[in-house]
């Protein structure tokens, strides 16, 4: 037998689980319409792939995963998409989010399912398939499962912890799953084991579920596996991942670290079951087990399609007339759903019909007497009374010094508080306020960076423009200077040319040249230059004219060519070149 460890704190609320375990899992009937939210997991919001009017098949992907930490969403049944719109969510805020509304056709026509043997696939392919199948953690955190199935490169994988503790009162869906579908749970655990290659696999189940322990142990034996099925003492919150890891392995996950840093990974039993269905049967995550309990006649566990409206679902359990609300999750960590039309999502493990008789209204908060009960109950060994003090005063820096982000919001402190202070509400408020500030701070830093870059760019552009202008002005000046120089040179050559013409035909003695005075005296220099440029221009024009082919002299007939030649010859004869004239 395995030596178990203890976690500090915790409470023992009345479990209220017996009501809903009496009957086997039932299949919830097809609702009138299914409202499937696109964002059902941690990470990026999937992009919708369908439009209004599209016909979808059961298991068809309707939302594509956006990024690696994100999971796809599928049509839970066959039917027609009647809307892609904002719809109230099962969230304490009661805000809306984008949902695909499907009207079922009752046929339940599946897409083509592809059962696979995962042993023949590369681990990457299995992870990708799990993402495509929308498999997420069904314990409540809905973290995409494929993201947890890559073994760390630096830390060797020691233990794989499978969480079947289900410590929260009222909830029994994991219990029933383990009792009825133990074989597939074990196969799913085998899949995780093969991907992560841990040294040990530990399945933790609270000892108030002996049937589940027996069923799972039998399934493990039947499968020939060496998983250890361990009954852990019943104490809330033994099902918290960090608490269960502590109880089973004795390892305590430090603040701001993950269990993988210690070589431990943790999955819920329902996640293992769903992963196995996705790989071995090709069935994406379309339904999950939901406990219907609380103020109802017929508490029971149902297999419910994702997207079933909560009011329609709860009607199956025949709620008593004084029911005035629905709690999603358990009484410790759950919340009152603001709008009963909200759909069941992947995170919905339990719906409790709320009535004032069952859950009397919270008595008024009284001053903190610093008795320290909350610190004794805290399973994370925090000091809730200190955090409360600072959260109440909105001194968020101090709350962080007291490690408010290690709080798992289990509600033990509020449960034991003799002054009935809703401590967890203060901590939630402080946490979301700190996150919002962090976001604002990052946005401000980004804006500042971009502003400074823009200023730098503007200045650089200005400098570049000025430089360009300066360069252009310099080029202009240089060009002018060059022209002036060229003109001077031309003037000189123009002076030289008539000189040569004078001397050469005369055939005079070399002394004659020296004797003849320079033609252009200094004052007429500018004039000469001007004349020279004019001459040069005329020369250019002449050259151009010569170069230009007359347009009408192409493709002439030989006769016409001969005629032209004759005319040219006549012209030559009639007008002798003027150089020869003198």
């Amino acid at each position: 037998m395995l030596d178990l460890f203890k976690f500090k704190g915790g409470v023992k609320p009345p479990s209220n689980k017996t009501q809903s375990v009496g009957k086997p899992i039932a299949l919830a009937p097809l609702p009138s319409r299914l409202i499937v939210p696109l964002h059902q997991s941690i990470g990026g919001t999937p992009r919708p792939l369908v439009q209004v009017g599209d016909r979808v098949l059961k298991g068809q992907m309707i939302g594509e995963a956006d990024g690696w930490i994100s999971a796809a969403v599928h049509a839970p049944t066959s039917g027609t998409v009647v809307a892609v719109e904002m719809h109230p969510q099962p969230h304490p805020s009661g805000l809306t989010a984008l949902c695909v509304v499907i009207e079922p056709d009752g046929q339940e026509t599946w897409i083509e399912r592809q059962p696979l043997d995962y042993r023949s696939l590369a681990p990457e392919a299995v992870r990708e398939r799990l993402q495509q199948a929308g498999v997420v953690g069904l314990g409540g955190a809905v973290f995409p499962t494929h993201g947890k199935l890559s073994a760390s490169r630096t830390v060797p994988m020691e233990e794989l912890v499978i969480n079947g503790a289900e410590c929260e009162p009222y909830i029994t869906c994991d219990d029933l799953l383990m009792r009825e579908r133990a074989e597939e749970v074990v196969r799913g655990i085998g899949l995780f084991r093969d991907l992560l290659q841990p040294k040990k696999v530990l399945i933790g189940i609270e000892d108030n579920k002996p049937e589940a322990v027996a069923a799972l142990a039998a399934a493990v034996r039947a499968a020939g596996e060496d998983f250890a099925v361990v009954a852990v003492p019943t104490r809330y919150p033994a099902g918290g991942a960090k608490q269960l890891i502590r109880v089973l392995t004795g390892k305590e996950v430090p603040a701001a670290k993950r269990s993988t840093d210690l070589g431990v990974q943790c999955f819920n039993v329902a996640t293992a079951y769903t992963a196995w269905r996705a790989i071995a049967h090709g069935e994406p995550l379309l339904s999950r087990l939901v406990t219907l309990t609380g103020n109802v006649h017929e508490p029971r566990n149902y297999e419910v399609l994702i997207g079933t409206p909560m009011d329609e679902l709860l009607a199956l359990a025949q709620p008593n007339p004084d029911t005035d609300g629905i709690i999603m999750g358990g009484p410790m960590m759950g919340f009152l759903v603001p709008d009963r039309r909200a759909p069941v999502v992947k995170a919905t493990n339990c719906l409790i019909a709320h009535s004032p008789r069952l859950f009397p209204p919270a008595p008024p908060e009284m001053p903190c007497i610093r008795c320290g009960e909350c610190a004794r109950a805290c399973p994370h060994e925090l000091q809730p009374f200190e955090m409360y003090w600072f959260a109440r005063a909105k001194n968020f820096g101090k709350t962080q010094e007291y490690n408010i982000f290690d709080c798992i919001e289990c509600g033990c402190c509020s449960y034991v508080c003799p002054s009935r202070i809703p401590l967890v509400q203060y901590f939630r408020f402080a946490k979301s306020e700190i996150w919002a500030r962090e976001r604002d701070k990052n946005a401000a830093d980004g804006a500042k960076e971009r502003f400074e870059f823009k200023q730098l760019r503007d200045e650089r552009e200005k400098a570049e423009k000025a430089e360009k202008l300066a360069k252009a002005a310099a080029a202009q000046a240089a060009k002018k200077a060059a022209e002036a120089a060229a003109a001077e040179a031309a003037a000189v050559s123009a002076e030289a040319a008539p000189l040569a013409a004078d001397t050469a035909p005369a055939g005079a003695a070399p002394t004659g040249t020296t004797a003849s005075p320079p033609a252009a005296p200094a004052p007429t220099d500018a004039e000469a230059a001007k004349r020279a440029t004019i001459e040069a221009a005329m020369e250019r024009a002449r050259a151009q004219r010569a170069a230009a082919q007359p347009r009408n002299t192409e493709a002439l007939s030989p006769a016409r060519q001969a005629e032209i030649s004759a005319i040219e010859a006549r012209r030559e004869a009639a007008a002798p070149p003027d150089e020869n004239a003198p």
């Binding site: 304490p92 809703p422 203060y426 306020e433 976001r439 604002d440 971009r450 502003f451 870059f453």
Partner: protein, 188 residues
Amino acid sequence: MTELLLAIAVMALGALVLGAALGYASIRFKVEGDPLIEKIESVLPQTQCGQCGYPGCRPYAEAISKGEAEINLCPPGGLEGVQKLADLLGREVKPLEVEARPPQVAVIDENTCIGCTLCIQACPVDAIVGAAKQMHTIVAPLCTGCELCLPPCPVECIAMVPIGETLDNWKWKYPVIAIQPVATRKAA
């Protein structure tokens, strides 16, 4: 007499040594810039909107540190920002000069946009993308809601839209216990 001279010499020597040490320290540990400006600037929201009358958050921070500007000129920072500045500078909290607006983001009506690039040039934080004669659009997560793009637009196709509450930016509220008369509580 020699004792007196010795005493003077010792004191002078001490003064020289200490003076040299201080002089060295003032060069070695010189603080570049005014650290107060950095602190003030980190409190300001960096919208670069110019509503304070200064061309950006840094100039406003400089003006505050010199004592030229009041601390209540920044509407995007809100009363909370004024409070922080007051704490930092030891000044008194004053109500904002201009009413603080809820957070907002600019939206370009892309059917009306003529692609003149004037708003792109006006945007202090490079949150508008587009090119000449091409449609422009605003990168919403980068927009600080400063409204500087509104005046240059020749076709008035830019509108400011308040940022609503979504599941992504929703916050838990401060716990409030509703006060109810004893009679109704008894009745319930």
